[in-house]
């Protein structure tokens, strides 16, 4: 499902910048990110730890922890500005129009509240349902996410469920109000591959049934291949590449994306003696180099990369595949 170009995107983020207050002054963690998600579209956000992928999504919901704040940029959802919206309004969006599935179901479910009550809460708050109706709907939701014996499970506490079950409960809560947008932050990272496959199939299925948009945050390029319509690759708080999913895997353009793809062993290709790897480590926020943040690890780095920050520019005629790299852009302009 790809969005029609003429329609304004459901989620439109421009120049989002997030800073952490540290001892040495504010450190920029998310550095002017542009994102858009169309209606019915699934966007994959890929990056390694510390690249700012989770903070970006938390900042949209204004859920940033203390000492971390949005310093610049706008985020529009369905035509409304999430950053300036009164908190009262925003509460209706959180869990209502935008469902959120957090990474760790162990810490994001309330340990002293029964599963049923946690599922009913958004329904009663957002949909003004009566308690008995909400419980009926909660049973439907648990059945939808594939939890056996949903009636009895409503009375269970989180600790009585396995990790996979808890994650499904998180997804059921995220989906409770049939949101227009589901944001899932590494929802399967803590799970086994067999459970991961179950959850991915479930989300695909629900997306087709409900026609919702999905933002799926992950570090797993293999997982996102079968799930997303479009993928954005983040490195050190910036978007380095943004492309339709087939285009990204067929023609990865940024050296970081290429390096990442090359360093993942797969089940299909012949096992090589050594994996190709990216040398060095990602820079810490606040200690990022001037110029391109990937330059110190980049095999193609030139003089200009140390000085200037490359812009995210189209690299194909359609303009749907963009990369932020001097080397790639130069090659294309010369051609």
């Amino acid at each position: 499902m790809t969005a029609r170009i003429s329609e304004p995107p459901l989620l439109d983020v421009k120049g989002l910048t997030v800073e952490i207050d540290g001892r040495r002054g504010p450190a920029v963690v998310v550095d002017g990110i542009d994102l858009h998600v169309g209606r019915g579209e699934t966007l994959g956000i890929v990056g390694e730890s510390g690249c700012g992928k989770s903070l970006t999504m938390l900042s949209l919901m204004r859920l940033l922890p203390n000492k971390i704040r949005v310093s610049k940029g706008t985020a529009r959802f369905d035509g409304r500005d999430l950053q300036t919206m009164p908190t009262r309004e925003l509460r209706k969006v959180r869990g209502g129009d935008i469902g959120f599935v957090f990474q760790d179901p162990m810490t994001s479910l309330n340990p002293v509240m029964r599963i049923g009550d946690q599922l009913c809460e958004p329904l009663i708050y957002h949909r003004k349902m009566a308690k008995t109706d909400a419980r009926k709907r909660a049973v439907e939701l648990l059945r939808l996410v594939g939890i056996p014996g949903p009636e009895e499970r409503l009375n269970a506490y989180p600790h009585e469920l396995s990790g996979g079950m808890r994650q499904r409960v998180m997804i059921a809560i995220g989906l409770a109000c049939e949101p227009k947008l589901l944001i899932a932050d590494e929802p399967t990272t803590a799970l086994d591959v067999t459970i991961q496959a179950q959850i991915v199939d479930l989300v695909k299925d629900l997306r087709n049934k409900l026609g919702m948009s999905v933002v799926w945050i992950t570090h797993d390029l293999a997982l996102i291949a079968g799930l997303a319509d479009r993928v954005v690759v983040l490195y050190a708080g910036t978007v380095v590449e943004d492309a339709p999913v087939d285009e990204l895997y067929a023609n990865p353009s940024h050296p970081y994306t290429r390096g990442l793809l090359a360093s993942i062993p797969t089940l299909s290709d012949a096992p090589a003696a050594r994996l190709s790897s990216i040398g060095g480590t990602p820079p810490e926020p606040g200690r990022r180099p001037a110029g391109c943040p990937f330059a110190p690890r980049c095999p193609l780095a030139m003089d200009i990369c140390q000085r200037d920050v490359p812009k995210l520019e189209p690299i194909s005629s359609g303009g749907s595949h963009r990369a932020a790299c001097f080397a790639v852009n130069k090659v294309l302009k010369a051609a």
Binding site: E48, T194, V245
Partner: protein, 329 residues
């Protein structure tokens, strides 16, 4: 497999006795490991895979006598390690090392890198204090770190660098056998590849033998000589790498392989997955007969009654499944 193995595991059993209930009033047994037998050849990488709770880490711990076995034997240099107390185990600890998953919690935050790497050397009296500095520098360079890192503390290092330090510490007393317990799982993708390459380089250089415990099947395929698949405390299948990935026999292995996503959008979209329903049953009360029968797509009546025999379906390819055995007979 005619050569004498470096290490032989025979019918290894590990049960944990736990107390359940708010006041610990209910005694129960976790059947973590049941009847696991395998040989580990010198210089090979034997990987163990399976879902969490399948007993792969317990196998590693019990082999090293970090968990006391409840039954069975671990034969190393003609000795049954499970019978040794800590004092008699000590000389063997030099040969048998382990690298843990989380490099954040396995390094003492108050010890410098040099102290951490040097401690086993001094403990086993493998170098004098004057030689120690050079030895530490050599070890650090083996794992790709500059010698000046010796004076740093763990908090100054990144996850990948810490894991290198942990590997250097495991190498410090020139071991023969290293258990890598999810040694790369906590690392970022771009760093994972670096550490995998490092482990392969060190294996070549020092003729190390690895027991590699992991859940990432693509990584396992990349580095292993042989692979064992575990389910709920039992081995389901054990085979040379290519045999296991190309012609898996056990239905659980097939399901596990089909769940692994691949970096190819076209193939991913069109792929027919064989998705296992439900969760792994609790090891407190494992299913009777074949422990996989509750989730198995081809389960027969016998599967819920009789534990399938662990035997070779082809030379070197061991499997425990009633369906396979009846096919061949």
């Amino acid at each position: 497999m005619s050569a004498e193995p470096l290490l032989r595991v025979e019918n290894l059993v590990k049960h944990f006795h736990v107390r359940l209930g708010a006041f610990g009033e209910k005694a129960a047994t976790v059947y973590a490991l049941d009847d696991v037998s395998l040989d580990i050849q010198e210089g090979e990488t034997l990987s163990l895979v399976g879902e969490s709770g399948c007993g792969k880490s317990t196998t590693g711990f019990t082999i090293l006598n970090l968990h006391r076995a409840s039954g069975g034997k671990v034969i190393y240099k003609g000795q049954d390690l499970t019978r040794l107390d800590e004092k008699h185990m000590r000389p063997f600890r030099r040969d048998l090392q382990i690298v843990f998953q989380d490099p954040y919690s396995t390094l003492n935050p108050r010890m410098t890198v040099g102290e951490a790497v040097g401690e086993p050397i001094l403990f086993h009296k493998l170098a004098t204090k004057t030689e120690l500095k050079d030895r530490i520098a050599t070890l650090l360079s083996d794992v790709g770190l500059p010698a000046r890192f010796a004076s740093r503390y763990p908090h100054e290092l990144s996850g990948g660098q810490r894991q290198r330090v942990v590997i250097a510490r495991a190498l410090a007393c020139q071991p023969k056998f290293i258990v890598c317990d999810e040694a790369i799982s906590a690392l970022d993708v771009s760093i994972q590849a670096q550490i995998i390459n490092l482990l392969l380089d060190l294996q070549e250089k020092y003729r190390l033998t690895y027991l590699f415990i992991a859940h990432d099947l693509a990584v396992v395929r990349h580095i292993s000589t042989r692979v064992g698949v575990m389910y709920l405390g039992r081995l389901a299948e054990l085979a040379p790498r290519d045999a296991l990935f190309q012609t898996p026999l056990h239905p659980y292995t097939k399901a596990l392989l089909s769940a692994v996503p691949e970096t190819d959008p076209e193939r991913e979209r069109n792929r027919k997955r064989q998705i296992l329903q439900g969760d792994v049953p609790s090891p407190l009360n494992p299913p009777s007969g074949c422990r996989f029968h509750t989730r198995c797509p081809i389960a027969m009546e016998v599967c819920s009654k009789v534990v399938p025999e662990w035997k070779a379906a082809r030379p070197g390819h061991l499997v425990a499944c009633h369906a396979i055995n009846s096919d061949l007979s």
